[in-house]
């Protein structure tokens, strides 16, 4: 897509996102409320279905466009964490689902009638070490029966459908530990008490849960892709997720820098704007440079993804650099605003909390460094 078209997308989504003022986000944050109106507005205007192909009623765009959309939304001070997964979770279904699954779900997701924005992978005893999950889907004549426990599963209470990764063959019975995992599409509306979500209170306004799965009966056609190949099926989706979350961090960095720079120009202490002091301006300038670098790596990762050439490294590095740039900007903004940075009505403390999350989610930056050490530098892995 040409640069001018990307500019149109930026301008369009920015106009909509800007209609939700800081007061709105402050209110949602204080009450730990799901931003229903914001998510509804983005959904109705089609912004969350841009990655779904046009034949299923979506926007038919690539990750390059989707990433600037996410960046732009967060640059207004909004937070897309309540709904970003609606954009990319369907990717596993799109790439690995059957024609029947795609035909029956994607148009409804594109129309905003079905919410697929929960993805149950991590467990209390298996975080990033995915192959150690123990949630098990036992084969029956009719389909599967699933039992297990999942942790940090976001937006379950605001989803109609949930993707679920479970073992279908125990880890000690497969040739490779990445085998024997399978991906399922769970209709939460039909699951009843077999899937129970228990909210976890966190320092950010983000609906996340411990999920208990007890004798969940799934029909055979709930399986997405090939039985036993679920781990492979979720990998490309993880790359998309990381590139999009990198974009949100870049948007956060922009917001911090805009907000802090405006404050540093206006706030006069000892007869001059505080931004004239290099102790204030240099950390902001440094964060800006970090953000530019992250943005270029993000662009490259998205471009490769759209060409079908994604490597985990590109997506991971984009996420690493972007989350660190946002965090540098967040800290510089906190320092710039001084005591006012702590005051809720200046919004910096809220965004500070929100941007901190991405240093450890959806994957810890330490694990990204470990990935680079092992996969790129040929060093031993921790």
């Amino acid at each position: 897509m040409a640069e001018t078209d990307l500019d149109d997308l930026r301008a369009g989504v920015r106009e909509l996102a800007s209609s939700f003022p800081a007061e709105y986000w402050r209110r949602c944050d204080a009450a730990r409320e799901y931003p229903e109106e914001f998510v509804r507005a983005l959904t109705d205007a089609g912004w969350l279905s841009v990655l779904i192909p046009e034949q299923y009623g979506g926007g038919g765009l690539g990750l390059a466009e989707a990433s600037v959309i996410m960046e732009e939304i967060n640059s207004t001070g909004a937070s897309t964490s309540a709904c970003h997964a609606q954009m990319y979770t369907m990717g596993a279904l799109l790439r690995h689902g059957s024609d029947a699954q795609k035909r029956s779900y994607l148009p409804e997701i594109a129309a905003g009638k079905l919410r697929l924005q929960a993805f149950a992978i991590t467990e209390p005893d298996a975080g990033s070490d995915t192959t150690r999950i123990t949630t098990f889907a036992r084969r029956t004549p009719e389909g599967y029966v699933v039992n297990g426990r999942k942790m940090w599963i976001s937006r379950v209470q605001h989803s109609d459908l949930m993707l679920l990764l479970a073992r279908t063959t125990p880890r000690d019975q497969v040739a490779r530990r990445t085998e024997g995992l399978s991906l399922f599409l769970v209709d939460l509306r039909a699951a009843g008490s077999a899937v129970r979500a228990e909210p976890i209170n966190t320092m950010v306004n983000h609906e996340t849960n411990a999920v208990f799965i007890d004798d969940l009966v799934l029909p055979a056609d709930a399986l997405v892709g090939v039985e036993g190949q679920g781990f492979r099926h979720v990998l490309s989706g993880m790359n998309a997720e990381r590139i999009l979350l990198a974009s949100e961090s870049i948007g956060d960095a922009r917001w911090f820098l805009d907000t802090a720079s405006a404050y540093a120009r206006d706030r006069v202490v000892f007869g001059k704007p505080i931004g004239d002091n290099q102790g204030v301006s240099f950390p902001l300038a440094r964060a800006w440079a970090d953000m530019q670098a992250a943005s270029l790596v993000r662009d490259r990762a998205a471009e490769l993804f759209d060409r079908g050439e994604t490597r985990g490294t590109d997506a991971n590095v984009a996420k690493l650099l972007a989350s660190e740039a946002a965090w540098a900007a967040a800290n510089a903004a906190m320092t710039t605003l001084g005591g006012y940075g702590m005051a809720a009505e200046y919004d910096v403390e809220r965004k500070f909390r929100e941007s901190r999350l991405y240093l450890v989610a959806p994957v810890s930056n330490n694990l990204i460094l470990d990935h680079i050490a092992g996969h790129v530098l040929g060093l031993g892995r921790g």
């Binding site: 149109d8 997308l9 089609g46 279905s49 841009v50």
Partner: protein, 259 residues
């Protein structure tokens, strides 16, 4: 129901606006140029009527090349097509001259209704509906806060300081709308993408059969002779409260005819 909505690109009323000292016209080059905010309400109303009754919404604008941004905004909201009158000779035209250009363009279009914002936020003359009504021999229903189209009749509530006037006129007619009439929609993702494929016809003065000498600064009926920036904000009035602060405050407000 075919509706033509008149759209004008103006410098953003939210940022500093300047005149060009070379010829005392609006300095567009350095300005953040946007669609006239009031026009968005007219577009919204036209789209609402179209969605209920069918037909097409066409955007008509007179302005420089950069006015395509305003056109694209209107198309991304949902208008079907656009006509852009662009000609260097139009630069500096007064409202009377501009109305002749718009009337000529409308003369080449088919419409049941012409709609526009009640004013443009740059010059704030609010005369275009009247000028066009006179030139085209159409009824004008200006300053609407509510519009109802039934059969061949347009009914509006014309907003006034104390209430409203109930007006009605046969179609075709010209209606201008205030920002009290609706809440303009934001362009959707698909609206933005679709706008790129919608037809935009460009017309010159020659296409409209107009003589270049009849428009432009040289023959304008009104000209800006001089201008000055807004004076810097004064110190304001400080009232020392000696037990009578409230009275002094009220006296001040009364003196300013605020209360």
């Amino acid at each position: 129901m075919n509706i033509v909505v008149l759209v004008k690109q103006v410098p953003d009323s939210g940022s500093e606006r300047k005149l060009d000292p070379a010829d005392n016209t609006v300095a567009r080059a350095a300005a953040d140029n946007v669609i006239n905010e009031m026009d968005e309400y007219a577009i919204e109303e036209a789209l609402t009527i179209k969605e209920a009754q069918g037909g097409e919404v066409t955007v008509l604008t007179v302005g420089p090349d950069s006015a395509t941004d305003a056109i694209r905004k209107a198309l991304s909201m949902g208008a079907d097509k656009a006509v852009h009158v662009v000609d260097d000779a139009i630069h500096g035209s007064c409202a009377v001259q501009t109305s002749a250009v718009i009337a000529a363009a409308l003369g080449q279009m088919e419409y049941d209704l012409v709609m526009c914002g009640a004013e443009a936020t740059d010059a704030q003359l609010s005369v275009m509906p009247a000028l066009l009504a006179e030139r085209l021999g159409l009824p004008q229903l200006s300053g609407a806060r509510k519009v109802t189209i039934e059969g061949g009749t347009a009914k509006v509530e014309r907003q006034t300081d104390g209430g409203f006037w109930a007006l009605e006129a046969p179609l075709p007619a010209i209606i201008s709308t205030w920002d009290t009439i609706n809440e303009p929609r934001y362009p959707s993702f698909k609206g933005i993408m679709a706008a790129k494929k919608k037809p935009v016809e460009t017309r010159s003065l020659a296409d409209l059969g107009l003589d270049a000498g009849s428009v432009g600064l040289a023959s304008a009926t009104s000209k800006v002779l001089d201008f000055a920036g807004r004076p810097p904000k004064g110190e304001g009035v400080k009232v020392t409260d000696e037990g009578d602060g409230a009275q002094k405050f009220v006296d001040y407000l009364a003196g300013q005819k605020i209360v």
